[in-house]
Every structure is written in structure tokens, then in C-alpha cells.
Amino acid sequence: MAERSFAKEVKSLRLGAGAEFRGEGILAVTKALLQSGVAYVGGYQGAPISHLMDVLADAEDILSELGVHFEASASEATAAAMLAASINYPLRGAVTWKSTVGTNVASDALANLASAGVKGGALIILGEDYGEGASIMQERTHAFAMKSQMWLLDPRPHLPEIVRAVEQGFALSEASHTPVMLMLRIRACHVYGRFMAKDNRSPQFSVADALKAPSRDYGRIILPPSTYLQEREKIEQRFPAALRFITERQMNELSPGDVGDIGIVLQGGLYNNVLRALELLECADAFGTSRIPLYVLNVTYPLVPEEWVKFSAGKRAILVIEEGQPEFIEQGASQILRKHEVSAHLLGKGILPMNGEYTVDALRKGIGEFIERFSPGLRSGKAAVRSVKEVPLVSAERLAALIPMRPPGLCTGCPERPFFSAMKLLQREMGPLHISADIGCHSFATLPPFNMGNSIMGYGLGAAGASAFHTDGGQRAVAVMGDGGFWHNGLTSGIGNAVFNRHDDVTIIVDNNYAAATGGQDIPSSRAANPHRQGNNSIIDAVRGVGVKWVRHTRTYDMRATLKVLRDALTTDFRGPKVIVAEGECQLNRQRRVRPLMKRAIQEGKRVVRERFGVDPDTCSGDHSCIRLSGCPSLTIQKSSDPLRTDPVAYVDNSCVGCGVCGEVAHAAVLCPSFYRAELLYNPSRWDRLVARVRAIVIAALQRRGERRRLRYAL
């Protein structure tokens, strides 16, 4: 079950016509799907669209009432392939994932889908993970739209507009027989806003209807000669149909302004920030009325030449505001204007930054310069009115030295921590290893304090990323993969490949029972009962099934056993791939499960022992090797109360969940004796009390002499 419950949000999915929906952008999309009569939905979780998947998973009841089929797809490729249902039937389907990583995975199916064309509306909702807060390489989804000729919507980050984009997206897809991508930037996914709801609609044509009367058209199969015909169809029919639809429905918006000779073209998704920049430049008011004409591209691919020509004709200069690179829109615009012999200057990248997120600050500077160069009269005499003083007052260098970075890390009590601690100790023993890392919580091991992992090639590709390192002699390469990545594709791309190619390296599958990094969603090997999914599928059986002979299981919290199994894998004479399943339940999920139970047991008067760790500050010498081996958020530092010691001492704060790693690390690493484990006893039995009394009496008696002595010699 996912980290966050969406019980409340699910209720808002039931809102009918006339009611106001309030919530974040990605939930508005979910509601819009139901209002659009979607027949099936799939996808793969990942920021910033995880909540869409979570909410749908929590809304199975509503979905089944409406007759909507929902799947938590095995991967983005699975989700994209699911859209095949819209090729032959008038079924509306939607899938979602994190882009561009998910789009990369889905590309094969998407390209085939785009070539075949669709009968029912096919909508691909993409969380564009770009700019601040992104967790992936910085690329654009735009290129995928161009290469496969799918249409790309980039609506204004305003809930009614987002909802409209979903509804129009289906219609556009059906009108042009082309899948449509709807991209939402991180902040738009999380933006809180409101819109007037409509009634949910059951699909007019359902998957059951399709199965009752299967239909087939050879023209939709991806084999020649159909493929040649499909290419022609794209150009001769689908493309013009799309242009017609976009123009007729006025999907792109024009804001006339009162300054005739310049204009700004922008991606819809940047609208709010561009308007704020214009407002700060005193060229717009708070309500979106701009003095400079604006052409807002809610559809960023394809570009509509007639609209561009109309907007640009008679203007001295046009500024294209397009985030990310390469500057596809600018290139397209330049071709359109050239071919139509429109003489306006075309500006974009250059006056605006070549790369990186277009923050309001960057926009303000770029647009300011644009105005300065082409319409200096617009702001004359106004510059000083509300100019903002340069901030900060202190130099960037000094600030950088003063304010330490705060990289993310593994959570308190994370089961992956002891595993990486063991890896660190192992490398002390055996020297540095080549470690092929993967995507997941365990990616954080590439950051301090573990600093481990030489490359990350993509989700589930940890083992595949080590394929080249297969030689005789020397140290074996190590690959790390999460359980999420394993089921996503690692079983075949990594493990099966290693068996087939007779690799000799070591793959560790870190099994925390969930897709933890994306919010704790269930995966095929999840243990918890889930009425809608078939869990408990063994990773070990799967690994054996593809032919691995050397498989070991270890519990990560048992560091000694983990170290031993790692050492064995690296030194054994066995030739062939070695797989270790390192298991420990995600602590976030575990605590959510265990905490209420413990609380209830205590309230019910049951005898409960709660463990947590601590550090004795008077024996801690402030070297912090424990922290370098663990990095647990609850293991922190405090200023030493000892007037002689200058170094801060280790300290375990109250967020400790008593996972036991501190003790294991202290033992395994021969660290220091400062750690202790405290066992707090709730609702003790009479026997507990009696024993405690006896102990207290004996201990107090033994302590008395030392105390007397200390008192005598107190200075």
C-alpha cells in the first residue's frame, strides 16, 4: 500500500456537475479522466505523477462502478503497450509516468502506437521532471513527440485549463487518430487550485464491448506495406486534421496587448511565471492582462503555421519562451517565418538562458532585455518605480561557505543502510570495487556518507550496467538493483542476460518489499495483503527460474551475515552470476504499520518493549566514524557538554526507531563502546517490577562507594 492514503481525495473524485473540486493538479487530471469517459487507465509511478497512480489505486471502487479498468503497470513500456486497445476500438485510454525516463522506456510501444494510429482517444500524461526538484537527467519530452509525430499539450498551470486539456486531448486524439501527450511540470502537478466539476461518465464503449466483437484491420499492423502507408497517413491526414482541430477549438490562446510591434510566444506551462515576470516589469497586471501581445502555446507540437504568421506579421520582434534544450519550437518557428517571409526578428535562447529551468527571475531578465532592445519606450521612466534591491547583501562565495548543502539520504531506520554499511566495510577489507548502481532509494548510497556506485544507467539496469566488466581474474564487479527495478526489467535485462552470457559478477537485489522511492507502492514481491493485486511472488524463485544457480538471501539488519554473504560472493570459486537478495522491509511502511499497533497495545495494558538507541556523550570522542558508516538521520551530533572536548559528540535523537543498526555497526566495524540500546518497558508485569527492584537495590549499593569518592574529590 502506498505511503500516502488518498481517502479524502478519492471522495472528491465523486463530485458531480456544479460542485467545486479543490486539490492538486495531478488529482484534477484524475478527475478529468473520469469526466471524459475513459475506459482504461494504466501507468507507472514516479515523481511528480506518483499521486495520480496512488489515487487511482485507492479509488478502485469508483473505477469499477464506472466500468473503468485500472492497472498498476509493470513498467512504462507495459503501460504504453496497453494503449493498443485504442488502435482497433473506440476506447478512450490514458496512461501516465515520469518523463523523460518513463518515455524512454515506453518508446518502443509509443512509436508503434503512433504509427498505427488510434481510433479511441489515447492520452499519455507525463510528469515532466525538469528543473528544481527533478531527480533525473535533464531532457525534454518534446523530442519524443516530434520523432513519432504525437501531439504534445503543455497547458497553462491552472486547474480549469489542465482539465480542459485532458478533455480536449481525447478529442484531438480521436479527430487526428494520433496519441496525444499531456505534459505537466513538477510545480503544476503539485499546484493547489479549484475547478468546477462535471459528472463522471462511464465509457460509451467498454473493454467488454470490444471483446464481444473483436475487430481487426491489417492497416493498423506494424509491418510493411502498412508502415509505409501509415507514414503517408501521418503526413497527409493526421497532421492536417490535428492542425484543423487545434485552430478550430482555439487550443492556443492569444492575448492582444496594446503594444503592436513586439510579441511573446510561450509554452502554456510557463504562462503564470511569464505573467509574473511581466508584472514585475510593469507590463502586465495581476489578472493576466499583458501590454505585450502574447501567443500561448497550449499545444507545443505541432506548431500551427497560420497562427504563427498571423501573430508575427507586422511585428518588429518576437520572443519565443521555451524551456529546456534543444530549442525545438524556436527552430520550428524560424522555419515557418522564413518560409512565409515574415520579417520579424526571432529571439529566444541567447537572450534567455540556453539551459535550465526558466525561473521568474530568469524570465524577468530575458524579457526585460527584449523590451529594452525592441520597445524601449514601453518601460521608460518606470524602471525605478518598483525596482527590487539587489539581494542578498552577502557575497555568493561567503554564503556558499556558510550554508552547507543538504543532500537527501536514506530514512531513519532504513533497511538499506546496514547493507551499504556492510559494503563500505567490505571495501575496507577487499579494496575498492566497481559498483554499478541503479534507480531507487538505494541511489542515495551514491551520496555521502556512502559515496558508493560508479554509474547509474536507468531503472532496473544496475546489473546490465555491469555487463562489460566480465573478465577473468581481478575483483568481481558488483551490481545493485532494487526490487522495484528488478520487476520493472532487471530480471530479464540484468539477471537473465548475466546467465545467458555466463557472467561471473555479483548482483545484489535490495528488497524492501515496495517501490519505496516513489511512495511505497506495491510490486509483485510485496508481502502485504492487497485485495486488488497478487503479491508474494518470490524474487528468489524468479532468479532461479531464469537459471541462476548461486542465490543467497540475507536480512540486511544482520550485518555480520550480510558481510559474510558478500564476502562469499566475491571470493567463491563458483563461476557464473551470483545473486544476493538483501531483504529488509521499508521502515517508513513498517512504522506506519507497526506504530498504531504498538500504541494500541500499550493503551490496552499489554506488556510492550520499545527499543531505541543512544550514545554516551562522555565516552564518545567526536570522531563520528559511526555516522560515516551509517548516516541515519536520527544519529546526529550535538555540542559536547565537556568543557575540554572541542569536537561535537554523536547523539541519537528521539526519532530513532530502534532498528538496531547502530549496535550492528558498532560491532561489525569495531567502532566504539559509546552506543547503548535502551529497552523501554510499558505495562510491566509484577515479576518485571520485582526483578527491577532487586536489581536497583544491588546496583545502588555498588554505586555508593564511587559516588562518595567523587563527592569527596569534587572541585
Binding site: P408, C441, R560, I627, T636, V652, L715
Partner: protein, 517 residues
């Protein structure tokens, strides 16, 4: 009048409830007839990194009058944020770094507590960011500053920091919303309402007063004139004859060495310190302060002389004060029972170190005996609150009276004497280098491998003393070498510095085979 939204930015840490705070603010704003837009950038920071929430508020009456909804931005703009709320001191500093705090516009509401980042925590010594300097920065940069330890207020009321932040926002009156509407939002959430309201109320009160916590004033130490025990009076008298600047440290040194061993041992400490101090008086050059060498030695000699052997650890672990401290730290309720389990892993060297010097050396020399003893090593879990566990540690701590005969004591004592001798030799001609040598003791700390690493680094510095003495900047170089020794565990930075110093490549100091103490 130009209508503009009110802009508020929350800088929080993953898991601190920044989202809850943002939700409350949305609810409050809507109840007060405002249009509100809120967004966030959690990204990978959803785990333990920094997170940003951004909200804009606009009066709906004005929007209705205008006939349009306002267009609100999705991110804070430097120079255009009315209120920055930071749930931690460094995050407040980061908001300044991002340019979000402007003297002319911004009210900064921040908690003064620290949640240390990994680079601060994992440093081999002192790596904490400078709180004082960050506070000065905040004071200079904020138009108005509300700064106090909000984490402490939250804990005091068994609440969460988001309630305290909400109270501070309310009290600072940056938002035109009524207090009762704030309170209603907390009530409506239905979770821990009473404690959250109490924390809210206190924070609100403190923010209304414009509370700004000031750094704690340093307290001057009073050196006692009379000792409780006549045995100690001569020591105290001698202490008073030391240079004034080193007396406070020397007093701590005395306390520590008495606590560690006995008054006689403290007398040895004092005698050693006096040796150095006499050099100080004559040699301390202008500008180097009063008795800098004596101060350094007072501190580092005390720490070295009270090296953490197994006896010391057992002694400290069995004290009543320790039991009380654990009770407090784990937040046991009054009268609640709890157990304590220690994690010890004595190795052969530690066992040998606790034996009489001759026996210990024999044990270490004999591989057979070492191997046999090895069977008794390995991870031990001792339950200090049980009679048996306590007796074990108590007996070990009781070996104190024979400590002077142990192998470890003999070794440490020799090392200390050697160190002091080198300081004495250097002080007349190379005073500042001697001071740095005294400070270099900080490299030797910890247990097991940590201690061995520290000793290796220290030894390699010692072996370069002659080279350093031949250079005018010897002291500065030694200071740099110490920093390098504390830069990484593997000794890479130190090897690099030593290579630069010698002009020939130096390897990172390798652990000696069978490295012992």
C-alpha cells in the same frame, strides 16, 4: 492602488510537516475569503533533503471587482517574497542564499534550532556550520525577523514544529487573517488538537512580542579558592599560580584527571602543565596571546592523560549519573522501567592493554596466546541494568587502582612524555610550532581502528617536526596538516600535503600489521 498577491514561501526539511503547514494556510486563507494558490517542490528531497512550498494569496473581493481571477506565480521570486518561513536555521540561511529574503519586503520567521546535514555530522572533528554567523546574516537580511527555537516549543508541548510555525506566522501578523481562523484550522484537522493549539498559542505569543533569541552569553568560570578535601588544597593553590588564561582549562583538567584516576594523577597533570607553563611565560611572543601554549597543553594533556581504556569505559557506564542521563534521553516516563544494553567488542589488544604491562606484552608477542584469547573477543552485549552485567562492568571499572601497571597505561604514558618533550624542545625557538604540536593531540581519539588511524596521522606529523622547524611557516603548515589529517579517513589529503611538504610522493599511512595501541 496596484493589487498584488501576498507571497509566502516555506523552506522545510522532508518529513517536517511543511505540507501540513501549507494545507493549513490554504484552509485559513479560503475561510478568510482569499483566493490561494499553493505548490511545492518535493523531488528527491521527499526523504531527508530540503523542500520548498510556495503560496500566494489574493483577496477574492478584489478579483470579483476586477472580473478576473488573478494569475499567480508558481515559484518565489528574489526580492518579491513577503514572508519566508524556515523550519530550521540553515534552511533560513539557504532562503537567504536563494535571494528570497529582502530587507525592504521580507518578514523571516525561522526556527533557530539545527538539524545537522551529513557533511557536518560526518566530519572527523568539528564540522558544524557557524550558527552565530548565520544568525547575524539573517538579522541583516530580513526586513523583520522572528527567530526562536521552535523545535523546543514543539517538544515542550508534545506537538510538531508545523503548529509552532503556524503560531509564529499568526503572531507576526504578516497575513491578514484572524487568530481564531488559524485555530479553527488546527481544530478541523482533528489530530492532536489540544497539544497543537498549545504550541500554536505559545509561538503566537512569542512572535507577537517579535521574539528573537539571542545567542547564549558565555559564562565566565569561577575558580574555587578552597577545596572540599584538604588533599586537594595544594593542587588548587598551584592552579592559582598558573597564568590566568589557562586556569579555567587547567581546573577542568584537574577535575578530569581526579575523576579518571586519583589526586596523585592530577598532581602529575599539574606538574606537567607547570613545566610547559614556565616556558610560556618567558617565550610567549607579542600577539600570540597570553599563555597560548599553556592553554593548549592544559586542554590536550588532560584529554590524553584520560585516554579511554576499557577501565574508563566500564567506570563511566556504571555511574548513577549515566543511568539518570539515559532515562532523560530516552524520555522514559516517571517510574518507567527500562533496560540498557551495551555493545562492546574488545579485541586482543584491548584485553592485553588491560593486563599488567609484562603479561600484556607477552600475550601480544605470542601468536598462540593471542589466538587463544581471540576466542574470547567478538561482539559482546552487556545488559548494564542486570546484576550480572553491572557486576562485570563494575569489576572492570574497579581495575582502576591497578591501571598504572597496565600495558596501555605504560604505552600512553611514554607517548605523552615524548610529546611533552618535543613541545619543550620546540617552544624556545619555535613557539608557535610548539603550540600547534600541542593542538595536534586532537588527532588521537576514539577506539579501535579510529584510534589507530589517529595515532598514525599524529606519528607522521611528529616525524616531520624537524622539517617544519626549519621553515618560517612551520606552525601554519602543521595546522594545515592537522586539517588534512581530519579531512578523510583514508589519509589521502594528509598524504597529499606531506608530498607537497617533502617534495617526494608520500603514501597514505598504512595500517601497521597487527596494529596495536
Amino acid at each position: 492602488m496596484i493589487q498584488r498577491p501576498i507571497k509566502l514561501c516555506i523552506a522545510a526539511l522532508g518529513g517536517q510537516g511543511g505540507g501540513v503547514l501549507a494545507d493549513w494556510l490554504v484552509e485559513i486563507a479560503e475561510a478568510e475569503g482569499y483566493l490561494v494558490q499553493a505548490t511545492s517542490v518535493p523531488g528527491v528531497a521527499q526523504r531527508t533533503g530540503a523542500t520548498i512550498y510556495y503560496l500566494e494569496f489574493f483577496p477574492s473581493t478584489e478579483a470579483e471587482a476586477a472580473g478576473h481571477e488573478p494569475v499567480m506565480a508558481l515559484m518565489p521570486v528574489p526580492g518579491d517574497v513577503d514572508c519566508v518561513v524556515a523550519s530550521e536555521l540553515v534552511e533560513a540561511g539557504r532562503a537567504v542564499q536563494r535571494g528570497l529574503v529582502t530587507p525592504q519586503v521580507t518578514t523571516l520567521i525561522a526556527s533557530s534550532h539545527r538539524s545537522y546535514v551529513i557533511s557536518e555530522k560526518s566530519a572527523l572533528g568539528q564540522g558544524m556550520a557557524d550558527d552565530g554567523e548565520i544568525t547575524t546574516l539573517l538579522r541583516a537580511q530580513a526586513g523583520r525577523l522572528v527567530l526562536f527555537d521552535m523545535n523546543a516549543v514543539a517538544e515542550e508541548h508534545h506537538s510538531v514544529i508545523s503548529s509552532v510555525l503556524l503560531g509564529a506566522i499568526c503572531g507576526s501578523a504578516v497575513l491578514p487573517f484572524r487568530k481564531e481562523v488559524f485555530e479553527a484550522a488546527i481544530r478541523k484537522s482533528g489530530i492532536a488538537v489540544a497539544t497543537n493549539l498549545a504550541a500554536f498559542a505559545e509561538a503566537c505569543r512569542r512572535a507577537e512580542r517579535g521574539e528573537e533569541s539571542s545567542p547564549a552569553a558565555s559564562t565566565s568560570v569561577d575558580i574555587p579558592r578552597r577545596a572540599r578535601s584538604p588533599e586537594l588544597q595544594p593542587l588548587l593553590d598551584r592552579l592559582h599560580r598558573l597564568p590566568a588564561a589557562s586556569q579555567a582549562l587547567a581546573l577542568e583538567g584537574l577535575r578530569r584527571t581526579i575523576d579518571y584516576q586519583d589526586p596523585e594523577y592530577a598532581a602529575l597533570y599539574l606538574a606537567r602543565l607547570e613545566r610547559i607553563s614556565s616556558l610560556d611565560r618567558g617565550q610567549s611572543p607579542a600577539g600570540s596571546g597570553d599563555g597560548e601554549l599553556a592553554q593548549a597543553v592544559a586542554r590536550w594533556l588532560a584529554l590524553w592523560m584520560t585516554f579511554e581504556d576499557t577501565i574508563r569505559v566500564a567506570d563511566l557506564k556504571t555511574r548513577p549519573a549515566r543511568f539518570a542521563r539515559v532515562r532523560k534521553e530516552i524520555r522514559a516516563e516517571a517510574g518507567q522501567l527500562f533496560g540498557i544494553t551495551e555493545f562492546m567488542k574488545p579485541r586482543v589488544v584491548e584485553i592485553a592493554g588491560t593486563l599488567p604491562a609484562g603479561v600484556g606484552e607477552w600475550v601480544l608477542r605470542s601468536p598462540r596466546i593471542s589466538r587463544w584469547l581471540g576466542h574470547w573477543t567478538g561482539g559482546k552485549r552487556i545488559q548494564t541494568n542486570t546484576v550480572f552485567g553491572f557486576l562485570c562492568l563494575h569489576a572492570l571499572g574497579g581495575l582502576k587502582r591497578w591501571r598504572r601497571g597496565t600495558l596501555r597505561f605504560k604505552e600512553e604514558n611514554g607517548r605523552i612524555e615524548n610529546w611533552l618533550t618535543r613541545i619543550e624542545q620546540l617552544a624556545p625557538a619555535h613557539y608557535e610550532l610548539a603550540v600547534e604540536l600541542a593542538r595536534a593531540q586532537r588527532l588521537i581519539k576514539g577506539y579501535g581502528e579510529t584510534h589507530e588511524r589517529g595515532w598514525r596521522s599524529f606519528s607522521s606529523l611528529l616525524s616531520h617536526l624537524d622539517v617544519l622547524a626549519s621553515r618560517a611557516d612551520g606552525a601554519a603548515v602543521l595546522a594545515r596538516l592537522q586539517e588534512a589529517a581530519l579531512a578523510d579517513e583514508e589519509g589521502i589529503a594528509l598524504a597529499k600535503e606531506l608530498t607537497a611538504l617533502n617534495g617526494v610522493p608520500c603514501e597514505a599511512p598504512e595500517p601497521a600489521a597487527g596494529a596495536g595501541v
